[in-house]
Symmetry: C2
């Protein structure tokens, strides 16, 4: 029966995930992408050097500082920001492509990026802030990256504090106590947002059809 | 570890489910109540006679017309309405009790009730409208109640058409193609709404604690 049922068409949404470094946002994002084929990742451009194992075009678009500034000039970014000594930005083209294909786009960006995105596309934006369960756990996770020096960890803890002060600017807050539960939480947010009336753009036609049969 | 973690306290919400008769709303509501102990049902008061098997205080509070009008006078209803020749209303007392205990309340009411509730408690209200997958399926379900006459079925189809015209007043729309998927959809809505920033009233204290550890 379900083959012949009408499908209500919907508009794609932009799911923004932010958190202090070490709160688990990237792990949650990756799990979401693996489990849900209807959402695609926005790959950021950055001027920083690739870390071991990072793939250009998958983890980041690695670009030169000159190229980055050229993209800013040409307004090719939905948002861009400087973090420490590097630049990061979200190219507009690939996002438009995913939204047009009826899928959602996931953004792994900081509060500055989220504010810029909100200016450009508020109605399509769903923002989630991930908090660590405790400050001890946050520090433990930040120290867990063996290649980082104490100086880098200190910088990250300071940045984490600043970043966390921006939680009131987000729609949803997930305290990442348990990774599986946090993944399920973001999946629920995504499922719910897709059911919002204003995103199901095919509803007026669908209900007209339902009522026309009276 | 999770035993010692702080829990972010939250404010209860009122989940309103409406649909044309026969769309599956009542089945979805019951499944939700069985699977989620953090949500309780709002039991309506009504002046109609109990149907076979209905239990007073569980399915409805069955009250006399005089008693109903007395409750209206004393402002004991969050919403009340006349449907055909009977009165239905939501008593305020039990709802306050559930919300105070930190749980959510489910309301199985029509669009008139939803409008009244929205006037009284917009911030705490989450409204879901359930649509049938097709007009043929709707009629089949309405005819499935063997005890109802053709006249009653015709009245219900007409009422279903009126009711469906109110879908644009709801936050979320669930087209009930598959019952299990519809139940999961409403569970996702509930899970997501509980994660909304403004419902997690304990967050300011929680973040202060997180940042204080710097």
């Amino acid at each position: 029966m379900s083959d012949t049922l009408p499908t209500v068409s919907r508009r794609g949404l932009m799911l923004v995930m932010s958190s202090p470094s070490g709160a688990g946002k990237t792990t949650i994002s990756r799990a979401l992408l693996e489990r849900d084929s209807a959402i695609g990742m926005s790959v950021s451009a950055t001027t920083r050097a690739p870390r071991p194992g990072e793939v250009d075009g998958k983890d980041y678009h690695f670009v030169s500082v000159d190229k980055f500034h050229e993209m800013v000039e040409k307004r090719e970014f939905l948002e861009h920001a400087r973090v420490f000594d590097n630049f990061y930005g979200t190219p507009r083209g690939p996002v438009d492509q995913i939204l047009r294909s009826g899928r959602d786009v996931l953004f792994d960006i900081d509060w500055q990026g989220t504010q810029q995105m909100a200016q450009n596309a508020r109605a399509d934006l769903v923002s989630v802030f991930v908090l660590p369960p405790s400050v001890e756990e946050l520090e433990r996770r930040l120290r867990g990256r063996a290649q980082d020096s104490d100086e880098v960890v200190r910088k990250r803890m300071a940045k984490a504090g600043d970043e966390m002060s921006h939680w009131p600017e987000y729609d949803y807050i997930v305290v990442n106590v348990d990774l599986d539960k946090s993944i399920a939480a973001v999946q629920a947010i995504l499922a719910a947002e897709r059911l919002k009336r204003e995103r199901q753009v095919g509803l007026p036609d669908f209900v007209t059809q339902l009522r026309g049969g009276e």
